[in-house]
Assembly symmetry: C2
Homo-oligomer: 380 residues x 2
Amino acid sequence: MHFVIQREQFVQSVQHVNKAVSSRTTIPILTGIKIDASTAGVTLTGSDSDISIESFIPTADEEIEYVDIKESGSIVLQARFFADIVKKLPGDEIEISVQDQFATTLRSGSVVFNLNGLDPEEYPRLPKLEEDQTFFLPQNLLKDMIRQTVFAVSTQETRPVLTGVNIENNNEQLTCTATDSHRLAMRTAATETESDELSISNVVIPGKSLNELRQILEDTDERVQIVVTDSQVLFKFKHLLFFSRLLDGKYPVTNNMIPEQSKTTMELSTKDLLHSLERALLLSKEAKNNVINFKTLEGSVIEINSVSAEVGKVTEKMTCHSLEGEELRISFNGKNIIDALKVIDSEYVHIMFTGAMSPFVIRPADHDQMLHLFSPVRTY
Amino acid sequence: MHFVIQREQFVQSVQHVNKAVSSRTTIPILTGIKIDASTAGVTLTGSDSDISIESFIPTADEEIEYVDIKESGSIVLQARFFADIVKKLPGDEIEISVQDQFATTLRSGSVVFNLNGLDPEEYPRLPKLEEDQTFFLPQNLLKDMIRQTVFAVSTQETRPVLTGVNIENNNEQLTCTATDSHRLAMRTAATETESDELSISNVVIPGKSLNELRQILEDTDERVQIVVTDSQVLFKFKHLLFFSRLLDGKYPVTNNMIPEQSKTTMELSTKDLLHSLERALLLSKEAKNNVINFKTLEGSVIEINSVSAEVGKVTEKMTCHSLEGEELRISFNGKNIIDALKVIDSEYVHIMFTGAMSPFVIRPADHDQMLHLFSPVRTY
């Protein structure tokens, strides 16, 4: 293997595939990044067996030449050093060549690195997925949908299926759902499919995979193709493939959890509510249970308060944009509400309560593509 | 105690004094910030018994009114919560009042915090220092001098006096020295004094104190007054007092350590050398000893290399701006040299070697107010 490559493109590809590499793997070859040079270009692969990322740099793209392939071949190099090394090389180009025994030489400017490589034949092959269950989304929309749901997945391994985000796609409508059984976040969007009969359900992608994917997604409306199989999901970009395993198990049915009626409904400024709860959390966090108390007063006013026996208490009044229905006193985990308010980009939110002991719903005031559901906390 | 204060000024003062407060103190009252309201203004104090910081907000400054004092008095409030609370209050003003039993109320906008205060009579009084040993420095120069020396203090408690920076002031010349016995950083500057006979030596300020002070210092040439006593040092700003204890013990005499002659002298680009050593450190860090090898070649060229048995090796050649004297092969702790190069603001450095087994010196090429001394590492 022997090629000369533009450093900037190479660094970006290495950084992308490096996201899949874990230093804690039990399979030694997976601590490396695989480099394949062919006449078409250079392919980099990283994997921790849960996530695999493949990035391709073509020899040339329209008028720019990225790679000069002098000899095809493959090598695996220790990811931990390789990513740092290419970032710190001084030249605009990097020359990489493999000699006997996987000994690899990197040259850039007046710097020469001689690295001990690993046998590329040992590196596992990535799966070829059947592409019959597939749909498309703009990158920026996919990025939003992940941001607005993934924070609500469970971090506890007692019910593994809840550590993922559930994906359903019916009638060109995509629904992402995450819940840790105390709160639930749901986001819907229209998708494009190639077949009318596509129906995807119980596809649960690990939250960890989505958090890595989110870092690769860019704020562009270029499309991503999503391919679903029984055990894997693949996100296909222009020059990048992102594979993730799916979680086993039946994702709970969540539709029937969402209350259809409301006894107390209010509209509030998202930012004002967020800041008020953040202040209240300062004390409720100290009491270690994050409990914040919430009640309606006369004249469209609500009161938020929290107490820490050691430090003191905080009380805050806020005027609602609108407030209808029954009087209410309720307590909740303030941290969970704050997490949800942070991902709502709308100026106002609707909150729908169905009594002090029942789950309640927060939605953006200006669209119905997002919903957050919370259990109240019993304080007596 | 009862006053109304501009939030912005108050937040900044709280943040300043909070730097002195440690949550790990064994003296409960020191987990708090003391607030004193008098007719002149509001004074805040924080202390961990090593460092004490006092910040004063006058009632008014020229045309702006900062504080409206309604009743004089004092209180101590838990620093951990208080600093977060004032930062998150919504209004431009904060009203603070103390009721019975040190119960304290903070009001801002529609928010009310009721906090449990502590008895201000328990709070230790700050010392009144004799101001007969005193000199002056611009803030930005003091900030530079700290940055350029404090990184070299020892982090090991086996010789406590080396965990501080030694200050000497003779003939209006200030010298700051830090060493961990493997490397030494020295910085000098002209100071202003009020007496010709000022002679300060063996004044060792803990590195930790200087790191806190550095965060308060601003990039202005306004003067700071420095007051030295046998056991304490005081930095006096316009509205801020920063006290630190001094370290006990005799600071080593360092002047005679610095070689006066040089067998090999070179001038190099500071940035090129820094980046080259950073690349070499990638591998020598893995070998866990940070050892980098350095040698002169023909024609004003030097070679830098490092080896990790596991990962591989790196070799880099660099052309010197100038190179004079004997051939040289030397090994050193690359991390120490990198630390020093990072605080040298000059474009070029002079390196003066006196043989492979002797200490060597790095200086900025364009002034003689800074010097870094290093022991070589024996590799055979």
